[in-house]
């Protein structure tokens, strides 16, 4: 492990992993938390290699392609048949997706 990898791993805490897991609604065992901590730290340190590039004077961008204003005309076209829409539904009820209750008023 290089020095930069070691420092990134140290700065990525188990709490941060648990926070991410909560935000993503993913359950994790303590072993998994530790596993992801190491894995995420390693990914971050890998990406940290980008910090070595001199970006002085280069405007920030979110897109790799040098594109602007890619737009479509506002013309409606037919959608999928409802059977195709619901084909992958884990649970369905009539023509709806059925999911766990999301508002618990208790």
């Amino acid at each position: 492990m290089s020095d930069s990898q070691a420092s990134a791993a140290e700065t990525f805490s188990a709490d941060q992993v648990r926070h991410l897991a909560t935000l993503s609604r993913v359950g994790m065992t303590p072993q998994e938390v530790e596993g992801f901590r190491a894995e995420l730290a390693s990914i971050l340190s890998h990406i940290q290699a980008l910090a070595a590039v001199d970006t002085e004077g280069v405007p920030p961008t979110a897109n790799g392609a040098d594109l602007l204003n890619v737009q479509a005309e506002d013309d409606a076209r037919p959608s999928l048949p409802v059977e195709a829409v619901l084909a992958n539904a884990p649970q369905r009820e009539a023509d709806y997706f059925r999911v766990q209750a999301v508002l618990d008023s208790s």
Partner: protein, 502 residues
């Protein structure tokens, strides 16, 4: 006592309100795919494509019209349009988002820094700052159900997901629930004038969340703010804010601190209820949408959109008052929506170039009075699209009144006929044989008869009792079965009485 509490707290605390409005654009297709956007009458999950479902491999493409309409709205709200804008992902797990994120705008919205003048009759005009108007996508609709076994679940209809949604965020510049309501009324009016949204709160195409806090007058810092959701009408926004104003004042008076939280408006109970005080601050992990290149808006494009803006409600109201001599309330009623204003102006235009002063005002009076009443009384109520009477016909009626051919009272009957049959005013007058008896010759025998039959009243008038004249005019109207011109009758009566006095 409640009343004393209200009176005291209103002077001890200043209310600070900011509003966040989400309004659907009435484009033909959705924001990032070409599924139809007009889902109101569609069967569930029929306006859905792989992109709506968040399928891997799909790519969003920005709806050009949605961008143009957002800029149009922004310009009507006096906003700046930055040259560059981009979309971002707002991440949160909820079943109304098939992708697990909503495409929205974070730090580079389509517009920033505008304002709207809010006018309330007795409070005057107040300029309300508008922080930003940006573009995002609507979410899927959730229906909450419980079956016979007591099992609770939700149903998802994806049709609404991806419909263009404009977010309009105000500064915390409002100081009363009444002002907040008026802001919404005027904002909806502008959206309808622009034709970009149906802006119907009850149907969900116009939604409002309100932030409210209290502070001591003169304080710079804002108090802990409460966000109120789930309000389905302008009235419920005002009621919820009024309730919250009192709740917070009472809590502060009692030495409590206000929890920064989201509260829902309970329409039945007319109270706000804490929704998720325990939940940690949202962590949306915004990041730039990698699938959408940024938008660049050239200054010429902005100017072209600005040049094509229609006349807006405030300007039209002012013009109606200035050009047509309307009272503020008449101008306000006529310009509430684009359709009545256009109808009224067609009526005025039918009078030709040289419109006699007073006629437009007459048309306005008949529009907001009899016409509105007849439309309202019809079952089912009529609209300007369903009525048969035409703008030029109302103008014709007002001309007959102005010329003294028929009296106002007669005109009501004539107009009722016109409203029912779509005939011209003159045709109805002819058919019914109504016309005002206004010639001196025609009135003279009637006046003679009145004076004979009511000698005592005539005597009273000569004796200096001026009110007696009113009685005699009334008798003249009765005897002529309403066909006399009252002003002329009064004049002729006075002349006759003065003659005989000498």
């Amino acid at each position: 006592m409640t009343t004393t509490t209200v009176a005291r707290t209103e002077t001890s605390w200043e209310t600070v309100i900011g509003l966040e409005v989400h309004t659907q654009l009435r484009t033909a297709s959705k924001m990032f795919c070409r599924c139809p956007a007009d889902y109101a009458a569609a069967a569930p999950n029929t306006y859905v494509c792989p992109l709506c479902l968040g399928m891997p491999g799909t790519l969003p493409v920005i709806n050009r019209t949605a961008v143009e309409w957002t800029i149009r709205t922004a310009l009507a709200l006096n906003m700046r349009i930055p040259e560059l804008s981009k979309f971002d992902r707002k991440n949160y797990p909820y079943p109304d988002l098939m992708k697990g994120y909503q495409i929205s705008q974070y730090d580079m919205p389509l517009s920033e820094g505008g304002w709207m003048d809010v006018e309330i009759d007795d409070l005057g005009r107040q300029r309300i700052g508008i922080t930003r108007v940006h573009l995002e996508e609507d979410t899927a609709r959730l229906l909450h159900r419980e079956n016979e076994a007591g099992e609770r679940f939700s149903l998802v209809d994806v049709n609404r997901s991806g419909v263009p949604l404009m977010e309009i965020v105000s500064e915390p510049d409002m100081r009363s629930p009444q002002q907040a309501r008026q802001y919404l009324v005027q904002l909806r009016q502008i959206l309808r004038y622009l034709g970009v949204s149906t802006a119907d709160m009850e149907k969900g195409s116009f939604r409002c969340d309100a932030n409210i806090s209290l502070r001591r007058p003169g304080d710079e810092a804002l108090g802990a703010k409460v966000e109120i959701k789930n309000m389905n009408s302008f009235r419920s926004v005002q009621r919820a804010l009024e309730f919250e104003q009192l709740r917070q004042a009472a809590a502060l008076e009692a030495g409590e601190t206000i929890a920064q939280e989201t509260r829902g408006w309970d329409e039945e109970a007319q109270v706000t209820v804490s929704q998720r005080s325990k939940e940690a601050a949202h962590d949306y992990r915004y990041f730039p949408e990698p699938d959408l290149p940024p938008l660049q808006t050239a200054a010429e494009t902005v100017e072209a959109i600005r040049a094509a803006l229609p006349e807006l409600p405030a300007a039209r109201r002012a013009r109606f008052e200035a050009d047509y001599g309307l009272q503020p309330f008449e101008a306000g009623l006529l310009t509430e929506e684009p359709a009545p204003a256009a109808w009224f102006e067609r009526a005025v235009a039918s009078l030709g170039d040289d419109v006699p002063a007073g006629l437009p005002r007459g048309i306005a009076t008949w529009f907001v009075g009899e016409l509105t009443r007849l439309m309202h009384d019809a079952k089912p109520p009529d609209t300007l699209e369903t009525i048969v009477v035409q703008p030029a016909q109302l103008a014709g009626l007002v001309q007959l009144i102005d010329a003294g051919t028929i009296s106002n009272t007669q005109a009501k009957d004539v107009f009722a006929e016109m409203y029912a049959s779509g005939e011209d005013a003159e045709a109805v007058v002819e058919r019914l044989g109504v016309s005002q008896i206004s010639g001196e010759d025609a009135l003279a025998p009637i006046i003679r008869q009145v004076l004979e039959e009511h000698a005592q009243a005539a005597e009273d008038y000569r004796g200096g009792k001026a009110e007696a004249l009113k009685f005699l005019v009334g008798q003249t109207m009765r005897l002529s079965r309403g066909q006399a011109n009252p002003a002329q009758a009064s004049e002729l009566l006075r002349a006759a009485l003065d003659d005989t006095a000498e």
